[in-house]
Amino acid sequence: MQIFTNILLGFLIICAIAASLSKNLLNTILIFMSYSLVMSIIWILLESPDLAITEAAVGAGVTSVLFFVTLKKIRAMVKTEQEKGEEKHE
């Protein structure tokens, strides 16, 4: 069990670094979501299921949805013409 916890903790650190280094905002939100899910598993391992439920519902669910809506509002999820052109080129 200790090894499993350590793997999850390492995953947390990787997620935190990846979220700050990612260039695409959508990817950042997805990484943030996975961070919250792993965190909720760690809460269960630390024997606090109350927090785990809250973390899974708020951190991975509602907060990410709000982030998605914000991205949509500021038109950050729409691909630019240049990117579309590059995809066609490929």
Binding site: S48, D50, A52, I53, A57, V62, V65, L66, K72
Partner: protein
């Protein structure tokens, strides 16, 4: 007794002028300074051209990184200093963490008489099998009340900030474009999934709220789950369906009622506790659904506030108003 001074004499004194200046009733420049309307500044083309050229030359000189050692040096130093600062911060925080007591040690300062009391007398005093809920909603119910109010105030702020502008332009169309145009139009996959998923999600949320004093859960997590279910329903079926049962008025009524109910219930228990009066609310059998006194009521109140808040956040973000 003060001496009465005639008005003309008083107007010569310093205090009168000071007061006049303070109140702004007298313009000190009026009558003392010659006033002339300002001339319009007209620039000839040569001066404009000269100024533009001068600006361009200066820009080139400043941003010529190969020759301007000051700017290039500053940029290098900036990178070095920011890296140094980050390393310093990380090292400081790690050193601070290393002084924390190790996790789960018996002689940690956390394990004092307070937690001892919670564990030993918690079930007896609050009637809640789940000690965490007993702590949150009985011993520290005042903190939870503050938390619920923080959520309510956050929603009010979002309502103020993201409210759609009601101004209209000349043709009668609203200035801000409504987000409703981007709503999903009858997505079959999403609707089928929502039809299957939404009822279990909401029932699970209600279960988490009602079973807060028996097992893991409580008002906050259950409310968040119900809010997530409502958001999924809204996404699948659009605003027209949700407006049948949840509008701004519903939200306001529900939250104000829930918060008021919480305040009243908690005031009652504070009043009886402070005056050493025996509370008439029975604690009941530990483990039964109707037990642990006021905790069940408080859980439902918190759940209503949180569910409404989550849903309202989403609605405000989507279209700025119900």
């Amino acid at each position: 007794m003060s001496k009465k001074v005639p008005k003309q004499e008083y107007e010569k004194t310093l205090s009168f002028r000071l007061q006049q200046w303070f109140e702004g009733s007298k313009d000190p420049y009026l009558g003392n300074v010659e006033m002339r309307p300002q001339e319009e500044f007209i620039e000839d083309d040569d001066a404009v051209l000269m100024r533009d050229m001068e600006r361009k030359r200066r820009k080139e000189r400043v941003y010529d990184l190969a020759n301007n050692w000051e700017v290039s040096g500053f940029e290098k130093l900036y990178k070095i200093f920011s890296a140094c600062f980050c390393v310093f911060l990380v090292v400081m925080l790690l050193i601070a963490v290393s002084y924390l007591p190790s996790y789960g040690h018996a002689e940690n300062p956390v394990n004092n008489e307070v937690s001892e009391r919670y564990i030993e007398k918690g079930l007896e005093e609050t009637g809640a099998v789940n000690i965490v809920t007993g702590m949150i909603l009985d011993y520290r119910a005042f903190d939870t009340l503050g938390e619920s109010h923080v959520l309510f105030i956050a929603t009010c702020t979002v309502l103020i900030l993201l409210r759609k502008d009601k101004k209209k332009d000349e043709n009668g169309n609203s200035i801000e474009v409504s987000d409703r145009i981007y709503e999903p139009k009858d997505d079959v996959i999403l609707q089928t999934a929502a039809r299957i998923l939404v009822p279990p999600i909401i029932i699970f949320g209600i279960y988490v709220i009602l079973g807060g004093h028996l097992g893991p859960g409580g008002g906050f997590s259950g409310g968040a789950i119900i809010g997530a279910g409502l958001i999924l329903y809204l996404n699948a079926f659009g605003f027209r369906k949700t407006e049948r049962f949840f509008t701004e008025k519903t939200y306001k009524t529900l939250s104000v009622c829930a918060l008021g109910c919480y305040c009243l219930a908690k005031s009652y228990s504070f009043y009886t506790g402070a005056n050493h009066i025996e509370s008439v609310i029975p604690l009941g059998m530990p483990g039964a659904i109707l037990s642990s006194g006021l905790i069940l009521v408080l859980n439902i109140c918190v759940g209503i506030v949180v569910a409404g808040t989550m849903y309202t956040f989403y609605v405000m973000f989507r279209k700025g108003g119900y």
